[in-house]
Symmetry: C2
Subunit: 394 residues, 2 copies
């Protein structure tokens, strides 16, 4: 099907099994533009960034174009030293040779940290994927990039620009070590807009800041977070300052949908919460407070147990690093007024307990200190998360 | 028995049941000096600090003495507004009246946040405890301050000073929301040293910085962290600059023992880890790196699963906020060299897996960037922790 990265015109994609994953599931994906494509990317800020991230950064800085992206899953190629760098370059070279993309290739890897890539299997996967590249391959590719995700993540948007259709598509994977900062997990986006890389990069940065950077699963920032977008121009529509808004909104829409899919599919997640902090003195204060609450382990355990335990939210706010007066705070949960002036609203317990059991719980915190606000999406902390991450090296 | 807070001479203590806890377990403790006592305290830095913490701070700032401490467990009296303040004052007044301590009383409460204290039960507990005050009551008192602790926590030290015995004793409770910053949980210490409050306060601050502030269970700083010490002078030994070192070491020893008991009894903890970061550019860098690793959820899940998953340690270091080069890092686990120059040491997997199953796992991280170091003790993240904190409001 023409979904995800093959929804926009001018792209082929594929997924295949090279044998990197012990499970035998697909583990190599390719996304290839029919011709030269403008490219932009945002990446993890981690100082432990892996060889693929470093390679992408350097290539985008040098050329700002990319015809293909190769993604392997099951092994992150991080903390693998000089061998890791050589392996990432070999993945790019082989992909360029088999797809006609030449040196114009970006690389992503995701999975276990600290183990050298099994290059025979990675290469077998690249050969297999290159053999089945198709304009309908977006679906297969989205499966091949998953690790502990329970399902593949796809999103599309269409913008009507200058009377013509411009498409944006994307795929992403989670599901643990999710606390993006500037970059994120792995998400590959495509568009058939005609747009130069120097226009595309700031739009991608803005979209990521409003989407991937607004989610957190476990507060653990990954070494491999990467969001990459390729623009084929196949729509015949050139993006200009005048028509940029509609394209930007479509790009954000795809990022937003993928980001929410990632948090909802966080490892072991039973429900998600939308934490909105309003009434903050600055946007930075609002962001810090919302993030601190969303990442607090006790708040997340309460979310898992559908327990409207607002005392833990107040405790988290008290140490979030924002100068605030807890005696002024209001908290609403699922529209139920729970706290006013820092103390409990009488008679709200039953309604709040019901609201706390919803698949998405909306928590609104008013600091009553200013006019700025921020939203962070977070997931609960479940016994399944602990089991997922304690029983074997992932 | 003359243990814990009644090990030093000049103190009585008691524990009793007022009915605050639904379990019917003891929930009110008293520690009372036979005469006026110098007092010092360190408290949570949380802006959501509860009424008892605020009351203690004000009273110590005003007088620097205290003859009694009353501690209730099962309800923290936090986020309870003006009523909470009045309730804390009522606890102090009743205790002063029943024990002869007058206005010289400090107050601690621990338990659920955001629910008004059931004052009839708290008062019943104070009456009951005052009726059984005894020089052997340290044991009972240590039971009455527990919440989700699996066992009471006691420690003692004896210093030989100027040919005479000076005693220090203490009790503490954990077990969740443990990430002290300057103050900590609730710990009540006593000593029969003769020492003025202005001498005692800096010694307590230094001891807490090296003990309670070196532990973390869940990274969630409490609203009620309090460490209080009372000095009766009953040993007949006056602490001077000349003999201060031995006393200071005894005070630290009691703090250290209680801190390690708290982390080992962290909610759901199966094992603890001692994270030592060496080779840092500054002590602050070392502290930040050690703490970030100790609090990382994925590292803690691996500790639970006895999995020597060093890749997660490198990932945590990469985003800990310290400027470091992950390609230079060395990691040893239980004495087994696991990582050198940022990559795996071949052949170390089996020995490391064995070491990761010890009740205390020693992790040594060398940043190779300088000469400073820090130690943080942390616990694992278990399914039991999640169950403890999701099934009911605590």
């Amino acid at each position: 099907m023409a979904v995800g990265v093959t929804y926009p015109r001018g792209f082929k994609a594929a997924g295949a099994t090279g044998g990197i994953k012990a499970s035998g599931r697909p583990d190599v994906a390719l996304v290839v533009a029919d011709g030269p494509a403008a490219a932009a990317g945002v990446f993890t800020r981690s100082l432990a960034a892996g060889a693929p991230v470093r390679l992408c950064r350097e290539r985008l800085a040098a050329s700002a174009t990319a015809r293909a992206v190769v993604i392997s899953s099951g092994n992150a190629n991080v903390a693998t030293g000089a061998q890791g760098r050589a392996d990432a370059e070999r993945m790019a070279a082989l992909t360029g040779q088999l797809t006609g993309a030449g040196a114009d290739v970006l690389v992503c890897s995701t999975g276990v940290i600290g183990v050298p890539l099994p290059m025979d299997r990675v290469e077998a996967g690249i050969y297999a994927a290159a053999g089945v590249l198709s304009p309908e391959g977006g679906d297969q590719a989205s499966v091949a990039i998953c690790t502990t995700d329970s399902h593949p993540k796809l999103a599309t948007r269409t913008a009507e620009i200058d009377g013509r259709e411009v498409r944006v598509g994307g795929m992403a994977k989670g599901a643990g070590m999710i606390r993006p900062d500037l970059g994120t997990m792995i998400a590959i986006l495509t568009t058939d807009a005609g747009i130069a890389a120097h226009q595309l990069q700031p739009l991608l940065g803005a979209a990521a800041a409003r989407s991937f950077n607004r989610i957190t699963v476990d507060g653990s920032q990954s070494t491999s977070d990467s969001v990459i977008v390729l623009a084929s121009g196949a729509s015949g529509v050139a993006i200009t300052e005048a028509n940029c808004a509609a394209f930007s909104e479509a790009l954000f829409g795809v990022c937003h949908d993928l980001a929410l899919e990632i948090v909802a599919d966080g490892e072991g997640a039973r429900r998600i919460a939308r934490y909105e902090v309003v009434g903050a003195r600055s946007a930075a204060d609002a962001d810090r407070a919302a993030r601190h609450v969303a990442e607090d382990q006790l708040v997340r355990c309460a979310l898992y147990g559908a327990d409207p335990n607002w005392g833990r939210i107040v405790a988290a706010l008290g140490v979030c690093g924002v100068d605030l007066d807890t005696d002024r705070i209001s908290i609403d949960l699922g529209g139920v007024p729970l706290v006013r002036d820092g103390i409990a609203v009488e008679g709200s317990a039953t309604a709040a307990a019901e609201a706390a059991g919803a698949p998405q719980v909306d928590v609104r915190i008013d600091l009553r200190a200013g006019a700025e606000s921020a939203v962070i999406y977070g997931s609960d902390l479940s016994t399944q998360y602990v089991l997922n991450n304690s029983e074997y090296t992932t």
